[in-house]
Amino acid sequence: MSNIQQKFFPEPERYEFSAVPVHQFELARRDFFKILGAGIAVFAIAKDALAAQETAPGHRSFHNEELPKDINAWLHVGEDGSITGFTGKAEIGQNIRTALAQTIADELRVPFESVRMVTADTALTPFDAGTFGSRTTPTITPQLRRVAAAARDLLIEAAAKEWNVAPAGLVAADAKVTEPASGRSLKYAELARGKTLAQNLSAEDPITPATQWTIAGKAIPKVDARAFVTGKHQYTTDLRPAGMLYGRVLRPPSFGATLTSCDDSAAKAMTGVVVVRDGDFVGVAAPSAHEAQRALDAIHTQWKEVPQLSSKEIFTYLKQNAAAKSEDRFRKQKGSVEEGLANAAHRLGATYTVAYIAHAPLEPRAAVAQWADGKLTVWTGTQRPFANRDELADVFHLPESSVRVIVPDTGSAYGGKHTSDAAIEAARLARAAGRPVKVVWTRDEEFTWAYFRPAGVIEVKSGIASDGALTAWEFHNYHSGMSGIETPYDVANQRTEYHQVPLILRSGSYRGLAATANHFARETHMDALANAVKMDPLEFRMKNLSNARMRAVLEAAGKSFGWPRKKTQEEQGFGIACGDEKGSYVATCAEIAVDKTSRAVRVVRLVEAFECGAIVNPDGLRNQVVGAMIQGLGGALFEAIEFENGRIKNPHFASYRLPRFRDVPEIEAVLLDRKDIPSAGAGETPIMALAPAIGNAIFDATGVRLNNLPMVPNGLRSA
């Protein structure tokens, strides 16, 4: 492995590759009204308890995360009554464009259709660290509600002034302010007319509790859905500004390879082709994609390659190369594990592994870059527009104000679109070409040069009393990460530790991060413990669990699944698992069957109960929950990145198996709506309990305990 790669240690929870500075919004108010027209605007500078709470470590993570302290939000009421909400979050298929508009409509008391969201545009929207960590709903929803509540108050005050009455007696509803006593009313549009009234949110306005929501909480269909079913929506990959060239980048033959010679004369001689060489970067831009490909093929290079690890030796390597002593922030201990083990009736030790997997978003990484008057505009499908802007400013030695990053609603990400690779590549080529350039990664590039969910080794040692009560729990994660590392079960003696190992493959965020790995290990281990004392796995969990929300999802999933089930055929099995992360709770039940001749494992039925506080949009939530379950099937059963000599061996959909229609079982999602609990995000947690539930069902069917993800890449024959 290369020296450069050796320097990098992964962060324990990979929301980002590096800490992000906090930036102030620079758009002046007069510019704001110039862009949007006159009206009423409310800005929130949220140095308040809500924001502080959100940036504090969650109860399941015990290291310091750096997130911006002053999350901003704003909203504009136009002279025509149109409402515009602004957020730096990006729409990547998780449906926030709809859910956030619902929130504003609900709080401002206007029809849903009158609200539009401006998202993820560094010139127009408030700074945002990125769309990750299931944070949009818990952070942005209350912000926008407070802003909308303040705007409502402003409109009431404007009406009170107009009528020369006290604001206290006026009511805001149906996009107008009404005086019930006289019956007279003024539309918001009328109240906003001719005004350029902006206000910083100062007081903490009370926001509408979930029990009184009228528009939020409803299954409102996806905004702009018609544009998607007619092919009219323009993703980054679809943009074609006038004069645009098509860019391609010449990739090294293997990771860590350095360029020793390059003959680009033939490419340079081609009409309309621009070749850019800068260190090891070699790229071309041409009037069409096929001309770009031809130019790329005409460049002859030689590379110096360096030895690289292979996927076969990865787990041994991770154990052997872990830091000798982990930092304090990666360790947590209570009681005495040694005593707990000594007093146990049963002791169990097991090792679990998880392979590298790929995000494989269907829209590959892409960017369109355009330079004008020394300023750079980049359209790109990223989860971190502001970080992309900063990196572009850094790379091209520009002030941040000279770079604008715009994120068109994007063809998914799953944690895979944090970096600015394509944006920088497109900008480099565009600067040299003097014309806009689009770079769209090929599927092969996407599988090879993006980044992966890291592999990991997890070791668990545990002890239980003869009645099934946990007495000791020791849990070590090597490399894959800390998300969801702590056990939710009641155990007096426990030790939890995360061991850093230098990066091998480029690794980063992924839906659920390491929670999927840690939950797989923990919930598989819990199943094995239940088996050791011959207890029902659900009963065993309940015995060791006092958390009421976790118990509620387990009960709900078990009830809908019909737990405990009686087997009706040979090699049929049922499994259960649960977990919590980022303020939401999940329990999954799985039924599997093994094919007698092929030994293939078929997932027959999945039931998952999920609870994330008050539900903002049950339809969008159901899509996210079911989607996470289906995506999770891949990592559970067969997805794995194979690599050797610095090359990815399966960089195609033909060789990297994804869940397809035939893999999808009967699925039921049970959504628990807790209107008494603030809404949490739902993008990640629903994926976490799936793999262990299936693995536990395989054990129930066959007596074979599978401790490695993916569990059955070739059916049970190879297990």
């Binding site: 269907l362 590959p364 999808v664």
Partner: protein
């Protein structure tokens, strides 16, 4: 000088200047601006680029433009007629059968092709015919429901 190629797409004729061996997908997207058909893999493995050629669903990333000239081509842009969505589009809309929706064009085109050949497909036949289309967001159950619903709508309409 190669003979100029003319494509018949969504009832209109388009002269094409790209080389004859260029995959149809690039001509549609880059030359003609019909960007509803998506690039997902360029290898015929994900179905995001699916169009109908002579009524049959085809992966446009695998068809040289010269081979597409003989028969009429329908892309996602050609399904809507006089402001009315095709029943499959309407059913996807009604079912909310998308998340990021990048696969949606290909899913709809594959389904339109299926229903033209088999107006009343079973669940297994729908699954079989969409097996080559990737939805990474995991919206499969709603997509299957949408196709069943579209079949029902089309049969009711035909009656």
């Amino acid at each position: 000088m190669a003979k100029p190629i003319e494509l018949k797409i969504n009832g209109k004729r388009y002269p094409v200047s790209y080389p004859a061996d260029t995959p149809l997908l690039y001509v549609l997207r880059d030359e003609l601006g019909l960007t509803g058909s998506k690039y997902g893999c360029g290898e015929g493995q994900c179905g995001a680029c699916t169009v109908l050629i002579g009524g049959m669903p085809r992966r446009s990333c695998q068809i040289p433009v010269s081979a597409a000239a003989a028969k009429p081509i329908t892309t996602i842009e050609g399904l809507e007629k006089d402001g009315r969505l095709n029943p499959v589009q309407q059913a996807f809309l009604d079912a909310g059968a998308f998340q990021c929706a990048y696969c949606t064009s290909g899913m709809i085109m594959s389904s339109v092709g299926l229903l033209q050949a088999n107006p009343n497909p079973s669940q297994a036949e729908i699954v079989q015919s969409l097996q080559g289309n990737v939805c990474r967001c995991g919206t499969h159950p709603r997509i299957v429901d949408a196709v069943r619903q579209a079949a029902k709508m089309m049969q009711e309409h035909a009656r």
